[in-house]
């Protein structure tokens, strides 16, 4: 990978990290409500996976998707506006943190039912196959989804039909508060995916460059007609499951051990060693990211909310008379 590529990955990760930190403040201040799931610690997955896709490819994600949306290029302002419940939000305030959508960037959410997006990703790939379009669908989900039937049904279907899906399992080792080993008899997720005839790899999910390279290989394989691929991206979330979570199920020592492998700082160190980032450069980047977030927050705050009169819009294309009653 070129130095520019690694530097871009770093910028993306820093934007995600600082964005999530701001979300914590805004949640604590009551500006963001509902559930808020942050991806601090998992930035290398978002940056690496999304960097390997082209604009024509599709992305299906989960409720922990701020990083995926940012890395896909969804503007920060529309994400914050969504979380503030504003009409300028990427889902017009109908979705919130868990349901970020951007059809223009083929970003299909934002699914808050664990594994619920996986069959949809298979279908997006099927549509491409039927129209002979050389596009790939990347489907991101957590390790918890591997326990769901929809995961297994979908892997079989995608493999059976040889569809161009890249299944990206963001394995942060916990399904909410339940450790992988407490809910899976076989914890080698790539091994299990492989049993469906899907090419599968385990990847260091704290190494953004490795994630990008593995995803690029999977995307190339799928695009070339090699069928679906599965990536187990081994990572860790540094914060609790959601803002409601007291995080009583993890050892402090475990969390601290993983923090030593902070993906942002790991890449920063590599860039510094390669002469691609120095203190001044880091400071400059931090300031630019800070400004971007400040501006996004200001714009989102100033944006109007959707009038209550519009409550029943977008249920169906033409107004459902039941909704209008």
């Amino acid at each position: 990978m070129s130095g520019t590529g690694a530097r871009d990955l770093f910028t993306t990760m820093l934007r995600i990290r600082r964005f999530e930190e701001r979300c914590v403040e805004l949640y604590s201040a009551g500006a963001i409500r509902g559930f808020l799931h942050l991806c601090v610690g998992e930035e290398a997955v978002a940056a690496g996976v999304l960097a390997a896709l082209s604009a024509e490819d599709a992305v299906v994600s989960t409720y922990r998707e701020h990083g995926h949306a940012l890395a896909r290029g969804v503007p920060m302002e529309s994400l914050l506006a969504e979380m503030f419940g504003r009409v300028t939000g990427c889902s017009r305030g109908r979705g919130g943190s868990m349901h970020l959508f951007d059809a223009s960037r083929r970003f299909y959410g934002g699914n808050a039912i664990v594994a619920g997006g996986i069959p949809v990703a298979v279908g997006l790939a099927l549509a491409d196959r039927l129209r002979a379009r050389p596009r790939v669908t990347a489907c991101l989900f957590g390790d918890g989804a591997v326990a769901e039937g929809e995961f297994h049904e979908s892997l079989n279907l995608a493999a059976l039909w040889h569809l161009p899906v890249v299944f990206c399992c963001e394995n942060n080792r916990y399904a909410m508060g339940t450790a992988l080993a407490r809910s899976h008899a076989e914890t080698d997720l790539a091994l299990r995916a492989g049993s469906y005839g899907v090419r599968s790899w385990a990847v260091d999910g704290m190494d953004a460059v490795a994630v990008r390279e593995a995803t690029a290989l999977a995307v190339d394989t799928a695009r070339a007609g090699g069928g679906p691929c599965f990536l187990e991206l081994r990572t860790y979330r540094f914060r609790a499951h959601s803002m409601y979570d007291a995080d009583r199920y993890r050892d402090r020592a475990e969390v601290e051990a993983w923090r030593l492998r902070d993906p942002v700082e790991l890449l920063a160190a590599d860039l510094t060693a390669d002469g691609l980032l120095d203190d001044a450069g880091r400071k400059e980047l931090e300031e630019a990211v800070g400004r971007e977030i400040d501006e996004a927050e200001r714009a989102a705050e100033a944006a109007p909310v959707e009038p209550v009169e519009d409550l029943t819009r977008f249920v169906t294309t033409t107004m459902d008379p039941e909704v209008a009653r």
Partner: protein, 330 residues
């Protein structure tokens, strides 16, 4: 749609198949997928011959993975295809509830109008074949509960053939509930039935003494009952709802305004069922029109049993409809 000069005699199975064939032939974005729809020809032989005619890409046999293939239908619809997904029976649709309720019905709204799911799901349904409790329930009303879905129940040959085309033209998800018991029933298809309107209920038999509201599997017994009542000088008007969501309340209210008596016939259990919704709307909007308490027939509240006499006792019948109509006008 094929325009024929003369009325034709055919079965519901053939009418449904004609609708499928015309949809597949008319738009190359349309494809059919489901369990046994291809090589087997459809569990109820509805899609017989379509694999041979349209090929493996457009008539796709799926694994027994209802959630995955319904979800794949949603994704394919998002991706610009026009999928027709068949779920073998409504009972198996329970395995795809997540995709239907949490995705198909919500994506447009949750995305602020950005996404559209032009998906059609065909779901055979209906009791009466001694198949016991896991193959005989009438659960259409569950789906009619959900905003974002359209739920239709073809009960005539014209609707059996024509509803699919209208459903496919709808940019939102449509569930088509086909009566398994009707597949082998033969009847006469109108010469040029024209396009089917999914927004309106239909008065299938005009009458003046009592309004009988039915849909799907209860239309035929309701019409039989009306014929029997006519021999006793009682004139029943039979309304076929056709669409459970959105409900065409106006047609029901207009009929009640003519007859002033209401009987609702439904194969579903009465508690919380579509019949309850009809009665509630008439009570809300036309209580003054009623000259007698409403009559409501549904399935007896048991899981539908196997033994013939027990199953028959559990379900609405022509005899029960006749009795209820007589009570309504007494």
């Amino acid at each position: 749609m094929t325009v024929t000069a003369e009325p034709r005699t055919l079965t519901f199975r053939e009418a449904f198949r004609e609708g499928l064939r015309e949809a597949l032939a008319g738009d190359d974005r349309v494809f059919l997928m489901g369990e046994d729809v291809g090589r087997y020809g459809g569990c109820f032989a509805v899609s017989q011959g379509l694999l041979e005619e349209f090929g493996e890409e457009r008539v796709r046999d799926t694994p027994l993975s209802e959630s995955a293939f319904v979800g794949a239908g949603i994704g394919a619809a998002l991706g610009g295809a026009l999928p027709i997904v068949e779920i073998m029976t409504v009972n198996f649709a329970m395995l795809a509830l997540d995709q239907i309720v949490n995705n198909a019905a919500t994506l447009r709204h949750m995305s602020g109008g950005q996404l559209s799911v032009p998906l059609v799901v065909r779901i055979p349904t209906g009791p009466g074949r001694q198949l016991a409790a896991q193959h005989s329930h009438t659960l259409e009303g569950w789906f009619a509960h959900v905003p974002g879905l359209r739920v239709v129940a073809p009960a005539t040959l014209e609707d059996a053939r024509g509803m699919l085309a209208t459903a496919l033209a709808d940019p939102d998800p449509v569930l088509v509930f086909e009566q398994i018991g009707s597949y082998g029933v033969r009847g006469e298809l109108a010469a040029d039935p024209g396009p089917v309107d999914l927004d309106r209920a239909a008065v299938r038999r005009a009458g003046s003494d009592v309004t009988v509201v039915a849909y799907g599997g209860t239309l035929a017994p309701a019409l039989d009952a009306a014929a029997e009542l006519a021999t006793g000088d009682l004139s029943a008007e039979v309304v076929d709802l056709r669409t459970l969501r959105p409900l065409d309340t106006a047609t029901v209210l207009e009929s009640v305004a003519r007859t002033h008596r209401l009987l609702v016939v439904d194969n579903a259990w009465r508690t919380g069922g579509p019949g309850a919704e009809i009665v509630a709307r008439v009570a809300e909007e036309a209580l003054d029109e009623l000259d007698a308490p409403v009559e409501r027939i549904g399935a007896v509240e048991v899981p539908v049993p196997y033994a013939r006499q027990l199953e028959e006792a559990a379900l609405p019948s022509v005899g029960r409809i006749v009795e209820a109509a007589r009570r309504a006008v007494a």
